[in-house]
Symmetry: C2
Subunit: 454 residues, 2 copies
Amino acid sequence: MQIWKDYQEKNKARFLDEMLDLLRIPSVSAKSEHKADMLKCAEAVKKSLLAAGCDKAEVMPTEGHPVVYGEKIIDPSKPTVLVYGHYDVQPAEPLELWHNDPFDPVIKDGKVFARGSADDKGQFFMHVKALETQVKTNTLTTNIKFLIEGEEEVGSPNLGKFVAAHKSLLKADVILISDSSMLSMENPSLDTGVRGLSYIQVEVTGANRDLHSGTYGGAVANPITILAKMIASCHDENNHITIPGFYDDVAVATKEERELLNKAPYDEKEYKDELGVKELWGEKGYTTYERTGIRPTLELNGIWGGYTGEGAKTVLPSKAYAKISARLVPNQSSDKMTELLLNYFKSIAPPSVTVKAELHHGGEPYMTPIDSKGYKAAAKAVETTFGKAPIPVRGGGSIPICSILEKELGIKIVFMGFGLDNDNLHSPNEKYNIENYYKGIETIPYFHKYFAEN
Amino acid sequence: MQIWKDYQEKNKARFLDEMLDLLRIPSVSAKSEHKADMLKCAEAVKKSLLAAGCDKAEVMPTEGHPVVYGEKIIDPSKPTVLVYGHYDVQPAEPLELWHNDPFDPVIKDGKVFARGSADDKGQFFMHVKALETQVKTNTLTTNIKFLIEGEEEVGSPNLGKFVAAHKSLLKADVILISDSSMLSMENPSLDTGVRGLSYIQVEVTGANRDLHSGTYGGAVANPITILAKMIASCHDENNHITIPGFYDDVAVATKEERELLNKAPYDEKEYKDELGVKELWGEKGYTTYERTGIRPTLELNGIWGGYTGEGAKTVLPSKAYAKISARLVPNQSSDKMTELLLNYFKSIAPPSVTVKAELHHGGEPYMTPIDSKGYKAAAKAVETTFGKAPIPVRGGGSIPICSILEKELGIKIVFMGFGLDNDNLHSPNEKYNIENYYKGIETIPYFHKYFAEN
């Protein structure tokens, strides 16, 4: 619609500036030192919703970081779209690998470099600007509600309760989420699901204190060595996970599903070159898209123990730690898998050490049908602005709240992400292409239009 | 000798205070930020040598941290004892596990808690105070030279060159070192050797940047997982090291040697209780004293990679690191073993990662005969002040410079350590019992007396 295009063209510089302002707030939910930043960010989101045309918006408390709710109700008889997003971001460490301050955005080669640019501030903010576009041009055809939370990156521990307590407030016909990526600008895609997550931490303790590795070395268990053995026991030579029961509940993808999945463009050389690796690694018998889409995984997210500073220290450490997470697929249950992982690491510990294993957080896998009214509206919107029908793909990441949102609100989710796989989510130098940002703002109003028409 | 006892009794408070002053200087050789502290400490040692009666003392440069040399020559025709020690200390990390500032000594229950209290400031300083005792009572019967270096904790990279360049300055009849421990005050012992060391660092790199563990998890090698597999491959189920060639040069201890070694008092329950472990860990077929004395070991001194902060971060890291060291026994060569370790870790890396392995430092194992004039003088000195002949034992630690000192100077080393295994060397809350400190000062003059008489 020309009226949208004109409005957006006229306001594009401001649209970008406002996104940058949001990125300047270090809203790291995992770190308690950022509590004040979280509140500041929630208030900024609320303000942006009101400025964009919401009738009301508020920062609503939870037991953790607050939720920002906003709504623009044009007519209760019209369909309502609930936009979910999150204003919290991953920790920015390791800071020394960033080319700029992660909370002082830098624009380079048409990309915004900052923590949260793609995940998810830059993406949920497209919806704010899409709302503004429709309100200011008097073209809004649906009601819109916003549910922007502050704990997605720590597993949304309080959102389930919040949603359950505010079912009528959040009542809608579809949930729309831009917190994922597409294959490329040339090959737009829509995620048909996200993987679940079980994230645990394992602590292995040997002696009650750090020891001299000469005096005691060879006679007392080294917790790093033991932890390494425990980790090594998790995958066999085919990179198949060996934890008993790990694959029990995995929904086996049909031949058709796998064929469809592998139709997405994929250039292995390009994929490897972009990552700088000589060979890929993964479960034997599956392609890359299958490995990241339909198969569960077990990844080491962090490990530490002993002396990690400059130079050499001949210490036999008392403790070693690992952060370990599994990505889950339908029909795996996060609670069950977490239990399985915790029990596994406790059960394989030799008697020379003690092992503590604890849940960090989890989330269920989620699948959305491609024949729903919402998915069809999204596909049509993408086709309108990209000139090409989107390919349905399985997302590798996790949005733990999906299954809870569907359960509590009784409606389906549509994933319409405009990020790219190389946006460095959760990594140093996270970026979001400005072109993608504007394309998202251009596409979203069509979703509302088609969803209302259908 | 009563005259020594009287002098020491009268000056004991000052003897302790002076040791504490030395402990207040954070002379951490491994960390470049402590360069000025290293110089300050060297100057303090020099001053203490002059104050104790040395004719001359100087801070002598090397390519790294300087060496402190001092001497008291009473008569060139008399025997000369070269005292070796080191004024540098291990890094104090992890700081949060200390009950006091590691460089602000605290006295509690008759123990001095501070980094370097036992290793080695408190121990080499006994020799300074023993010199003072003999000089001030006009009872010195040998010449004494001091070689106090500043790089022991980083593998003495520059001392070999220094010694080679100053052979005539360092000319002596025996080398005396207090940088080790004894079994207990009730069961005094003398080390008959120290283990060698090969200390390396391994860096495993997967992708060229940290990745989102959902987007890429399962399709790209995780360097932590790979590193864990590499570490796990080093020991079999009997805790025997599986690196090909690792044991090739190990001098097999005779039945008699093993019997002698196992005559030292050992209470497994007490040993375990003191360490807070339910079970010991070690190479099958060997006792604890054998595992720490006559057998080589491979220990993980540190490991790190990925996210190690508070909370959860779903990152698939680009890099993982480990600090790994082997303790060596006769006749293993440090250079050869280092080469073997570096090659091993490089050779087992799968093609999905790249591995960099580098030497931190090394040192040869060293054995001293128990029928030498020096060993006999030490044994007699210990028997005089402890009322009990010392048990000869093999030390588990390493003093990399030993084999070089013997080679360059053509004389034997005698180990006369007064520490205890539970002094927390290289660990938080390092301590040195004040009783042991005074006992050392009491015993050392007898060594000089007996060595001169013999």
